[in-house]
């Protein structure tokens, strides 16, 4: 009996046909043209256009970035008022001056850039050396467009903070500092955010060894003393000021969140948070797994609506691969996404009402949620963490009675939603707890980068399903609900109505019926061949082995794709270097921004109000902590 070696350990270097040419996004010319318009409108010297991207993209001088951010925000025509995302990508090879330095140097080596040589930025890399790409993504509500700004920073260099322009950049800058060690000058509170104080090094750097372990002892734990709000600084009351820890393990926080509040009597006059208790560096793990293997990790981001995460990630990679998913798979993805959105809102409203002592609603809302999970389980064999989608489609076809089951659910759900409305909507006890509690104005919410129900509760009708439709949402008749006030009550109203709108979409989807056909693309470099072929046919068996061993190899490039998650815009930014592992997967978790505004929202309120507000924001720790 001889022992064989594990041959999967042999690295594969040959190219697959999927990655022979760099990635060219579908709307690159439109984005380039729009980029020219933006550059002409802004007339800023520090911006160099980066062509051939999926949205208008610029490389900005390090010294100019805050200036550019401010100009983009204050421009009447452009009005990029919303900071969607800020993250970094590490290209360690670039610092050595090699031109062939990973994915980033593509802009001056590739022939597939703009056909017009004058439009190419030939000196982009020499003018902007540096190891890290710090990437800002802004959104303009006025023009419904996005923009990407890249700043190249060398190791040890620092950037000026953008927090005076966009409050929403506060936590993002801390995250980039934590993960890459890029220092933001002038940041009000630049300490680690996702990892703990005893952590050594910066986890998302390419040279960081992921197998290291750092132990946090009691002595290392940060003593957080919240800054007292200036409004209350000199107010003299009869009470003694008390600093109180809410969490990290507290029944009202729905996840491990630590909120430190300073109280004056019952009034909160200072608050600070600590997050990262559920941090597992999903993004680093993605870099050591194949594209297909990342899907189970995305389940764990927002575990209340896991299928939306699956869909978002898969669609980002499909965009990179340039493949179109079969109609049947799209239809199922849309239906299950809507079911998951309803489930997400059911959890949010149900638990929020439990926080306020209305326990009965919890049972009424969790029963339909249970039924939704039953449907998901019938499709893919798991309830909470389905991993149902695959890159290119779905893992398996839906069961034959899928539409009947969906119809039964759509029919039974309004009863439960109406019951909850009857229980609370005219109930003064409930209204006293929510009306005017933790309000946020529309300007503030946009400045913080709110998306989803929390933004719509401020009266801003931004919904990714309407703004940039995907999966055929543009063909469905549904409304985006908004409310005014931006308080806990408004968020409750918006979520209640959104569930009804989702039911409308589902009813239409059921009436249209499932399109016939396969549920996954017929492409041996993306999807596994059918098992009957694998068992019988040599060629298919080879493709099967190749795909498992060498994975999907998308073309070299980077792309961003956004879907409307339960809490707002859920975006995935995928950078490919042509190998089987993603070079970088960035997830834009919607509740990260929303939670960063929490201290501002609860200032001057009481602890019970803060609890009610926290529930209405629907903070999901898996997503918040990456």
């Amino acid at each position: 009996m001889s022992t064989l070696t594990k041959f999967s350990a042999i690295p594969y270097t040959g190219p697959a046909p999927t990655n022979r040419n760099p990635y060219v996004p579908a709307g690159a010319e439109i984005a380039d043209a729009r980029g020219e318009v933006i550059a002409a409108a802004l007339q800023h010297p520090g911006m160099t256009p980066e062509l051939g991207q999926d949205m208008p993209s610029f490389i900005v001088d390090k010294e100019q970035i805050v200036d550019v951010l401010r100009a983009l925000k204050e421009s009447e025509v452009l009005a990029f008022t919303m900071p969607l995302d800020l993250f970094a990508v590490d290209y360690p090879g670039r610092e050595n001056g090699s031109r062939e330095s990973g994915v980033g140097s593509r802009s001056n080596t590739s022939d597939l850039q703009s056909p017009n040589p004058d439009l190419r930025p030939p000196t982009a890399d020499t003018r902007h050396p540096g190891r890290f790409d710090v990437i800002y993504q802004l959104y303009s509500l006025k023009n419904n467009e996005r923009i990407r700004l890249k700043v190249r920073v060398a190791d040890g260099e620092s950037i000026e903070t953008g927090t005076p322009v966009f409050k929403g950049l506060n936590w993002y800058e801390r995250e980039v500092f934590d993960m890459y060690g890029v220092v933001f000058d002038g940041h009000p509170n630049l300490r680690r955010i996702l990892t703990h104080e005893a952590f050594q090094g910066h986890a998302l750097r390419k040279d960081y060894d992921p197998a290291q372990r750092w132990i946090l002892t009691e002595n290392d734990v940060a003593k957080i003393i919240p800054k007292i709000d200036p409004r209350f600084e000199n107010v003299d009351t009869d009470y003694e000021r008390v600093t109180l820890n809410l969490g990290p393990s507290h029944p009202a926080t729905h996840g491990t969140l630590r909120i430190v509040v300073t109280l004056d009597g019952e009034t909160i006059i200072g608050a600070d948070q600590e997050i990262g208790y559920l941090h597992r560096c999903f993004e680093k793990m993605s870099e050591t797994h194949t594209y297909q293997q990342v899907i189970p990790y995305t389940d764990r981001l927002n575990y209340c609506s896991a299928i939306i995460n699956n869909v978002g990630y898969c669609m980002a990679v499909e965009k990179l691969l340039g493949i179109e998913v079969p109609a049947r798979a799209q239809h199922v993805r849309l239906m299950l996404s809507e079911f998951m959105r309803i489930a997400d809102h059911l959890v949010c409203i149900g638990t929020n009402l439990v926080d306020m002592g209305a326990l009965t609603n919890f049972w009424y809302l969790f029963q339909p949620r249970e039924e939704i999970y039953g449907l998901i389980e019938a499709c893919c064999g798991a309830r909470l963490l389905p991993s149902y989608t695959r890159i290119g489609g779905l893992a398996v076809d839906v069961p034959p009675d899928f539409l009947q089951k969906s119809q039964r659910l759509v029919d039974m759900m309004p009863k439960f939603i109406n019951d909850v409305e009857k229980l609370v909507d005219r109930n003064k006890i409930f209204l006293d707890r929510v009306v005017g509690v933790a309000p946020i104005s529309a300007e503030e919410a946009i400045n913080y980068g709110f998306t989803g129900p929390c933004l719509r509760a401020c009266g801003v009708p931004f919904d990714v399903r309407k703004a940039t439709p995907y999966l055929g949402y543009e063909t469905y008749d549904f409304d985006v609900p908004i409310a005014e006030g931006g308080d806990t009550y408004a968020r409750f109203l918006v979520r209640m109505e959104e569930m009804r709108q989702s039911l409308r979409i589902l009813q239409q989807a059921i009436e249209r019926g499932l399109p016939e056909g396969p549920v996954i693309v017929d492409n041996p470099y993306v999807a596994l061949p059918p098992k009957a072929k694998v068992y019988n046919e040599m060629e298919s068996l080879i493709y099967h082995f190749k795909l498992i061993m060498h994975g999907i190899q998308p073309p070299v490039g980077e792309t961003y794709f956004q879907v409307e998650g339960g809490n707002g815009e859920l975006g995935f930014y995928v950078v490919s270097d042509g190998t089987k592992n993603p070079y970088r997967v960035r997830c834009r978790p919607p509740c990260f921004q929303i939670y960063s505004a929490f201290p501002d929202m609860i200032m001057g309120q009481t602890i019970p109000d803060a609890i009610a507000a926290l529930g209405s924001l629907n903070i999901i720790a898996g997503e918040l902590d990456h």
Binding site: R20, G381, A382, L385, K422, R426, K428, I429, N523, N536
Partner: protein, 217 residues
Amino acid sequence: MHLTRVRPGVVKVERTPLTVLDRLYLPAVIGGMLVTIRHLLHNLFNLKQLPTISYPEVKRVYSERFRGRHILTSREDGTTRCVACYMCSTACPAECITIQAGEDERTREKFPVRYEIDLLRCVFCGYCVDACPEDAIYMTRDYEMAIDTRARSVVGLRDLVVPPNFPVGPMGWRPYYGAIDKHGTAGGTGVGQQLRSAPFEDDAPPNPDVFRGGDAQ
């Protein structure tokens, strides 16, 4: 809670104005109690339809796609179907499968000397089943895997391999459960055998040029 249309595609949810009656607390409380009592009476007279089940006396029946504990199927002659090709351990995102391959001196067949799944690492995603080219690993509907020590979470060949012609009844995630005969068995005359002899319609070999930038360029 009623709606006013702001513009096409956007509706505004109006706040409920409270009437004098509502401000008195009691009508709303009584209205709420009526809803609760209606549910109570409905449940009292429809005990069989209660949404709760008395676990563990009553167990929930999961679909035949349920991703539970794994099994390794056997051939008719009792040998395990697994050929230690490492596909499952390569596809596993949790890296919970450990295989050591051996070679049968007599038949020159490769087979697993050691095959271990760490059930505490396993995320039950079903990728191992999808990856298996030999119809050797299935998932069952068994979800009760409580253990008292960490060491017992690692299950080996002794726990995983089932005898030939194991009934398909308790089976969960497996290739082609839709096409399977309910009375069939796993392994032996199971799915694999049915599929092996099954003709398939689309006989064309996969086209490598389906991609932009394929061989054609």
